[in-house]
């Protein structure tokens, strides 16, 4: 069906995985794993910085995935996460269900919300899509803050205790951190795998030229819908971490502020990099925790950082790496002029065996 775009790679499979990007990912992962062992006050660092970075990163990653591979900027990702959080709260606390079916069903509901959103918004493009997802997110917010019989209106559903699965007890903060880390890694792997799968190649083709893909027989809207649903599913995974991090759910989860925070995380980390969002999340979590020490106006500070990144580092903080490397490689340009091109976009390079690199 898609023989024309899934080009064969010339490098062996294992070599394609030893890229600069994957080395960085491995280093970051190792740092994340030893994080609980090296911090001085785990009771502060793990929940306030570690877990928060992970759920913000996971949700922001779903936004980045849509932006990078589908070309749609969705402002409803936080809402999908919040819907999943509400689901867990409603089923496990209000209805008194066991926790595992509640989580599974809530993940399904979060994804379903993504599918519904796609049905409404998928025909629109770029800026329209952004506005419509923003508007839909606000619809859910207003519903959540009023529907007292389901969401308990403004007071929300609390407390939502962390589950104890027997062999893993999430009430232990270190265990909970690793639980969150595993979910975030699963989310990352889902996206990395999808991006290089046949489906991923198709949606990237659609991003570059919907008309051509349509002419080739692809149902453009159906692919976009599927990608949106997948992104909503991953956002819901973030919602699972979120709800157990806060031990409650209330409308502030899906407010305009929270939506914007996720966007800030994505942009600061790098809107074109799946893994970069965790750096953005870390910066944001640090800012949230420590900016209050010297200023009350930390949202102003966040806004300034956000605008600064947009003005000067459009590729986000992960874009700094290649920028610095390019500075250095200028000196060694005479010897290695061919290599400088590969520093341009480390993330895109990961998929050397996909056709995107050749296309651009």
């Amino acid at each position: 069906m898609s023989t024309s775009i899934s080009s064969t790679s010339t490098t062996p499979r294992w070599k394609a995985w030893v890229s600069a990007q994957n080395i960085v990912v491995a280093v970051v992962l190792v740092l994340a794993i030893i994080f609980p062992l090296v911090v001085d006050r785990p009771r502060f660092w793990l929940p306030n910085i570690g877990v928060r970075t992970l759920w913000m990163g996971t949700i922001a990653m779903s936004l980045v995935f849509l932006n990078k591979y589908v070309g749609l900027l969705s402002l409803a990702q936080m809402t999908f996460a919040g819907i999943c959080s509400y689901g867990i709260g409603y089923f496990s606390v209000t209805m008194g269900w066991p926790i595992i079916p509640s989580i599974v069903l809530s993940l399904g509901i979060g994804s379903f919300a993504g599918w519904l959103t796609a049905l409404i918004a998928v025909r629109t493009k770029a800026i329209y899509f952004m506005m419509i997802t923003l508007a839909l997110a606000q619809v859910f917010y207003s519903w959540a803050s009023q529907a007292i019989e389901v969401t308990n209106a403004r007071r929300g559903i609390a407390p939502i205790p962390r589950p104890d699965f027997g062999f893993i007890n999430l009430n232990d903060i270190t265990t909970f951190y690793y639980f969150a880390l595993v979910l975030a890694v699963i989310a990352y792997v889902i996206f990395r795998y999808t991006a290089t799968s046949q489906f991923g190649l198709a949606i990237q083709g659609i991003k570059d030229s919907p008309e051509r893909m349509s002419a080739l027989g692809y149902n453009v809207n159906r692919y976009r819908t599927a990608a949106l649903t997948l992104a909503a599913f991953v956002a819901s995974i973030g919602g699972v971490i979120l709800v157990f991090d806060r031990n409650q759910v209330d409308p502030s989860f899906v407010s305009l502020d929270s939506t914007l925070n996720i966007l800030v995380v994505a942009v600061v980390g790098g809107i074109g990099s799946l893994g970069g969002v965790f750096i953005g999340g870390l910066v944001f979590a640090l800012l949230q925790n420590f900016a209050q020490d010297f200023t009350d106006r930390y949202m102003t500070l966040t806004g300034l950082v956000f605008i600064g990144v947009l003005l000067f580092f459009p590729a986000g903080l992960v874009g700094l790496g290649p920028m610095i490397r390019r500075l250095f490689s200028k000196r060694a340009k005479a010897s290695a002029s061919s290599e400088s091109s590969e520093t341009l976009d480390a993330e895109r390079r990961a998929g050397t065996h996909n056709k995107k690199g050749q296309h651009k």
Partner: protein
């Protein structure tokens, strides 16, 4: 007595406020193909400034002007300093203005606090008019409806009949070509951005006269403006008028029929319009 005509008129006056706010947004989008998400910030900033001036001078008209000018200057500053260089990159403009909105929300909360304020207006306007069918109706709401209608007609005629309007229309169709004919398109862009923001500021003062000004309204009015321009069709002034009347009327009827879900029903309107006509009621196909 029948209550429906009253609700209809309430919807129309609410729609008048929405129209003044969203006409600025649709004007900016129509010419520049960018969406400013700081539109709600202009709205609330104008409203607060209008309140301060109207309370200090005891003059409602001065308050209206102050809100208009203050928001216009804010828009001019945003455009010149932050987004002029990225004007072709609509996504980046949207994000930068979002940053402005975040800062604006925070600073306005710091300066004006979290309590509700209402713009004072003259005693002799605080009367009810006896209308046929409807009965007693506050005069100020009718004045605001009249302001919105006059403003809408004025914008429409400026765009349709004057030289500046023809430049704007030419810029909408083909900015590089307009520039090639000797028009300084950059100045036109700056003027439109400032005027669009100023209209939002004016809407802020008007809204602050009818309803209290609250933190968080910047977000909700940005949203209502977005819904109006999506429903009416981006870049179309008549579309904004139809859209805001529809949104105003639907939200007022929804308040009576299903108060809890009024907001949701308002957005259902947007969803229906999008499903039938993705470019909006008066929008041109993209």
């Amino acid at each position: 007595m029948d209550i429906w005509p009253l609700i209809l008129l309430n919807g129309l006056t609410l729609g008048a406020v929405y129209f003044v706010a969203s006409s600025g947004l649709t004007l900016i989008f129509g010419l520049m193909r960018v969406i400013t998400l700081a539109h709600g910030t202009s709205f609330l900033f104008g409203g607060y400034l209008g309140y301060v001036v109207a309370a200090a001078t005891d003059n409602w008209i001065l308050g209206l002007l102050a809100g208009l000018v203050a928001a216009g200057l804010l828009g001019l500053f945003t455009h010149q300093v932050l987004i002029r260089r990225f004007q072709d990159d609509d996504m980046r403009v949207a994000l930068i203005t979002l940053g402005v909105a975040v800062i604006g929300t925070d600073l306005m909360l710091a300066v004006f606090g979290g309590t509700a304020t209402q713009v004072p207006f003259p005693q002799n306007l605080q009367v009810a008019l006896d209308l046929p069918v409807i009965g007693e109706y506050p005069l100020i709401r009718l004045i605001i409806l009249a302001i919105a209608i006059v403003l809408g007609l004025a914008i429409y005629f400026i765009i349709a009949k004057t030289r500046f309007g023809s430049i704007v229309r030419a810029g909408v169709d083909d900015a590089p070509m307009t520039s090639a004919t000797g028009v300084n398109v950059r100045v036109v862009f700056a003027v439109i951005f400032a005027v669009g923001s100023a209209l939002a500021g004016l809407a802020g003062v008007i809204s602050g006269t009818l309803f209290p000004l609250l933190p968080g309204q910047d977000g909700s009015y940005l949203l209502f403006s977005l819904v109006v321009v999506i429903v009416g069709g981006m870049g179309s002034i008549p579309g904004a008028a139809i859209g805001s009347a529809l949104v105003g009327i639907v939200s007022q009827f929804a308040l009576v029929i299903a108060p809890t879900y009024a907001f949701v029903l308002t957005f259902a309107l947007m969803v229906i319009v999008l499903a039938v006509r993705p470019q909006g009621i008066m929008g041109r196909p993209a």
